[in-house]
Symmetry: C2
Subunit: 379 residues, 2 copies
């Protein structure tokens, strides 16, 4: 087990009828005006927006709204929101949406306090030193962003999909109400499951030894995701399944799943980011369903014992990679690049984009050549 | 699953050679003078005290020392330390020790800021509203106090062993270096294991349904404690076992093990507190090894499925209670009141003390009569 520092100051408010508490929490924190950041409008259909607006109104909290954060969120929208946050002198950002909205909101929270180009955080030019407080209401359990300091955004000009991480952008309060996810399309639940399982696997398979407790917790998270995803595909309104699913996705990337690990491998994520950078219609979870098993196949000799343990613990089958792929098929996730609409000659382009981050990975340092081979396996 | 709020702002600094970082952390937080609270002197034997003193000196941090916190810590020592903290105008409390020292330090941190009697927090007369910052260096993994806001102290005048809980006394930074536990006597490791397993079981068996993820995490913690305790009884210097053991005891009571539960049952703990209030030589873990299986036996019809699941998952045996008792025997923990030195006619006295807290429990509300029966089973 490696030395580690665990520090997660997000207050997680979890359960039924918690969305309507947002005004109360903001008032307690003396917030008077927020920038409400949102996506394409689904929160108007499922009633979340109305609940939020009413709660803000009842607690006399002013708001200015910025809409239109899209899946695989883009830098231009972040910059637009930063301008508005500054002009309107808001005290806090309130993100109401899924991973894209919350990731963008983190950049807005930090960018509002930074004179330079917010992209500097993503390219590692500068570290975040401060941010205005961020509050989140999660509408789609998947990325775990509701309880960590990570943000991933795409720069449309350069097709770079990069991330930054900072303690300053952990949500101060994060509301997760599983009930508001009853009406999600099935494929979003599937993509969320794949995303969260991938987060756990990035740690689980990073090559660190003697992480017995973390390994068991990781298997617990994946088992619960497998079990609840199957239940939700049958009955999207199963509250208990939604709640266990939601909590699993949060714990998959709030630090708990990686305790004592060497920070995770993250090659599969980096390679996947190339997919959605080239084709923004590729959902992150869908891309991971294709890339992660390909990476596992490429490195399998380095982790043969762990793969067998994973397979047996989660699926009752020793061939962990095959068990995972079969389960992805079963729940309707894509399992190769062709299903995502990529063609043979895209491999070179994807390799080019992903290789900007090379060498990558911890279990095995991947160079351009390795990345290309993994993409070929994924094809 | 129940609604919940999870908020744990302790920064956990975990691993080898972390004790010597205390000065650096305190300096970063602008702490200039601490009250160093300690126990009977074991930290002078194992080298921890020397490391702490050197680190404080190197970072120009003044200290005043208060020694003599004993196992099953007492109110008089807390009051003594509060007086000194006030007189010396310290900026923070630095607890260096096990659960007793840290629990006492929490009371000192809160009591220093409170004009009245610090016992008021324990009897629920008043809630903690503020505290001076608390820093901890854990020398004995057991109670989980290093990453929560709980404090248990005995009032020697009334023989009451009560607790309070407050967000204000979570350690700001908590250092856990498994290596400094190499020299612990075996029975302290055993008691620590029993204590932590009992914490998990208080949640696991509290009667809440549909807590699939928390249940699996709980089983993970207990499995890891069982595995590592056996390893440590063979080789107390096994770092990886110490580290997994230590992390398991922390997670057993930092909020993670009870996610979505109804707060835990805690009858066994309340009854055990009577044991060590009557006889302060009874270690908390040893008392729990006797009381918890007795409680399980008394309520077993209410949790038969869960007991079978627990038994199978942890020990591979359906009779969960018997498996647990057999394992306690195997590791050398006591399994009845007689082994702890109690006699038949102590049952009435213990019932009297424990019943001050009655009715208690969530799974089953226990009255005086129930408590007496459980103590008879335990005898």
């Amino acid at each position: 087990m490696n030395n580690f520092v665990f520090y997660n100051p997000t207050k997680l408010v979890f359960g039924r009828n918690t969305v309507e508490k947002i005004g109360e929490y903001l008032k307690k924190d003396k917030i008077k005006k927020v920038l409400l950041l949102a996506g394409g409008g689904s929160i108007k259909k499922n009633g979340v927006y109305e609940k939020v607006v009413r709660s803000l109104f009842e607690h006399s909290i002013e708001k200015v709204e910025v809409w239109g954060v899209r899946p695989n969120p883009v830098l231009s929208k972040v910059k637009e929101a930063i301008e508005i946050a500054r002009k309107e002198k808001v005290d806090a950002i309130l993100a109401v949406g899924g991973g894209s909205v919350i990731d963008s909101a983190k950049a807005v929270a930090a960018g509002t306090k930074y004179e330079g180009n917010v992209w500097d955080f993503y390219i590692g030019k500068i570290k975040v030193k401060e941010a205005i407080p961020l509050y989140t209401i999660l509408t789609l359990s998947a990325t775990g962003t509701e309880m960590n300091g990570n943000s991933v955004v795409t720069n449309e000009d350069t097709l770079e999909k990069y991330s930054f991480s900072s303690i300053h952008v952990y949500p101060k309060i994060s509301i997760v109400d599983p009930e508001i996810q009853f009406t999600l399309p099935a494929n979003q639940t599937v993509n969320g499951a794949v995303d969260a399982i991938s987060h756990v696997m990035e740690y689980y398979f990073d090559g660190t030894s003697n992480t017995q407790l973390a390994d068991r917790i990781d298997e617990s998270i994946v088992k619960t995701l497998v079990e609840t995803t199957e239940k939700l595909l049958k009955d999207p309104h199963d509250y208990e399944a939604r709640a266990n699913f939601a909590l699993s996705t949060t714990l998959a990337l709030n630090g708990i799943s990686g305790l004592g690990h060497s920070g995770g491998d993250w090659s599969s994520h980096a390679i996947e980011h190339a997919l959605s950078a080239l084709n923004p219609d590729v959902a992150h979870g869908a891309g991971l369903a294709v890339v992660f098993p390909a990476w596992l196949t490429y490195v399998k000799d380095l982790i043969s014992d762990k793969l067998a343990k994973f397979g047996v613990e989660v699926f009752g089958i020793e061939d962990g990679i095959n068990a995972l792929k079969e389960w992805y098929k079963k729940i309707g996730a894509p399992v190769n690049l062709r299903e995502l609409g990529f063609e043979k000659n895209d491999i070179e382009k994807l390799t080019d984009i992903a290789s900007k981050m090379a060498p990558m990975g911890r279990l095995k340092k991947l160079e351009r050549e390795d990345i290309k081979k993994i993409l070929e396996i994924a094809f």
